[in-house]
């Protein structure tokens, strides 16, 4: 599989990253380098091998169902470019 410029543009758009037209060829090349590496990994026969999900055996950590957090509206909104009446205020988005 190889990535052309239009695919690179599409991926950038989905990730909401602005890429100038003239930067697309280099970006597509980088993608292809990465994919080339993945393809190399794909050559290894892993038939019947369970995917490794952690280096040492671990169980997913759980929490109990208790309210231990929240009530910090000021901190949550502290970095917001715009906040009004306790809400984040963002440019209008309507479907």
């Amino acid at each position: 599989m190889s990535i052309d410029q239009s695919t690179a543009a599409k991926v950038a758009k989905l990730a909401r990253i602005k890429v100038e037209e003239d930067a697309l060829p280099a970006l597509a090349d980088e993608f292809n380098t990465i994919l080339g590496f993945i393809e190399q990994l794909n050559e290894v026969d892993v038939e019947g091998v369970e995917p490794m999900t952690s280096v040492t055996p671990q169980r997913l950590k759980r929490r109990v169902d208790e309210v231990t957090d929240g009530n910090q509206q000021d901190k949550i909104l502290a970095n917001a470019p715009d906040a009004r009446e306790g809400f984040f205020a963002v440019p209008k988005v309507v479907e």
């Binding site: 989905l14 909401r16 999900t53 952690s54 671990q58 169980r59 997913l60 950590k61 759980r62 929490r63 109990v64 169902d65 208790e66 309210v67 231990t68 957090d69 929240g70 009530n71 910090q72 509206q73 901190k75 949550i76 909104l77 715009d82 009004r84 009446e85 306790g86 809400f87 984040f88 205020a89 963002v90 440019p91 209008k92 988005v93 309507v94 479907e95």
Partner: protein, 503 residues
Amino acid sequence: MLDLTYELPKPKVIAGAKHDWELVIGMEVHAQVSSNAKLFSGASTKFGAEPNSNVAFVDAAMPGMLPVINEYCVEQAVRTGLGLKAEINLWSAFDRKNYFYPDLPQGYQISQLYHPIVGEGEVLVELGDGTARLVRVERIHMEQDAGKSIHDMDPNMSFVDLNRTGVCLMEIVSRPDIRGPEEAAAYIAKLRQIMQYLGTCDGNMQNGNLRADVNVSICRPGQYEKYQETGDFSHLGTRCEIKNMNSMRFIQQAIEVEARRQIAIVEAGGTVDQETRLYDPDKGETRSMRSKEEAHDYRYFPDPDLLPLEIEQAWVDDIAANLPELPDEKKARFINDFGLSDYDASVLTADVESAAFFEETAKGRSGKLAANWVINELFGRLKKEDHSITESPVSPAQLGGIIDLISSDAISGKIAKDLFEIVYTEGGDPAQIVEERGMKQVTDTGAIEAALDEIIAANPAQVEKAKVNPKLAGWFVGQVMKATGGKANPKAVNELVAKKLGE
């Protein structure tokens, strides 16, 4: 358990300009898990709080914050799965569904695409006319809810509240087994009922705690059966997904409207595009929601912040052993043990509280009589004041007391209704009220006879007429009842009137 067998309902048929068409419907129901804290944070799930006050840094996707799963949410999902007789997957995993929207600060929703916690189950959907359909559930997975955007507070800005962000949802995905708008509503109602019994979701649609995406396609009669035989979806039409509906009425309207839209396109020689649509109840139409090229390009991948979720069979068995009695079983038991009709049993098992109230009332009494009083008198009275069963001023013991007085012939049915009204509005012990207010039924034939003699003596013309036309005897019965304040035993009065007029 009593086996309830039902006929299959007929699929809904819509007549197009050229042909008849049938509907094929599959649903994705999003049910908010009842829990104190969110799925991956310790923030509260409480509805109606100050904006952005139930938000942990994890929910706001602050850099470096890591999700830690709420074990109770997992338990609730497992419980729901068991309630739908579904297989529970001891190994499941979380994936990221990537998309951008202001109310989703992570830029992705943590969900379970590849390995859901619950596999195939089923829901018996009764249509209330003696028919029912077994709708297959494909899977249930856990995922995070998004926040809430408010668009009408400012002309140029949208306001975002993250209180809901990260609350645990169960997405319950059905197979395309639903064949009409009414069935779709009945399916959601049944899911809601089961989850309310289980205590896993409160089912409050108004607050958005239960929402549905509905997939609708159309096909010619006979095509659906071919799909059923082969499992080949090409026998069916292209489906459209109507997103995010939280009203039974709108769901039914939207399905009908969308089906008619598709029929019009196909009959005009066009093709239906697979897309996501929104229902506009004001205009009574569905409209396309997202530009096509971006639809469903979610670039799912396993969430590297979360290890796979492994649960133990013993834990699942323990949850299974402590499941409450479910609606189908309770209904069957009510029919079996109390001799109720299918309809009465359905009404009484609609929610756990009503069922418990009835059972308490019926204990050691006639089940049918108890059902009549709970459904006709109590429910009717509660409805009048818009009260729920939990707000009933009459307790099962009080209602049972009234029923006992009827059963022992101490009061007539008519007086019983008056007594019920007194107990409802004033409270008190029914037997004592009857005693104190002299409401006891007069079974003493001497007293009834005296009243009747008086009436006969005062109305000689009526007596002559009644002798010619026996139907007029009812007038005398009425007069005696009136004279005794409704307390005379109607059976004794009837007998006496017949006897006296026959003389």
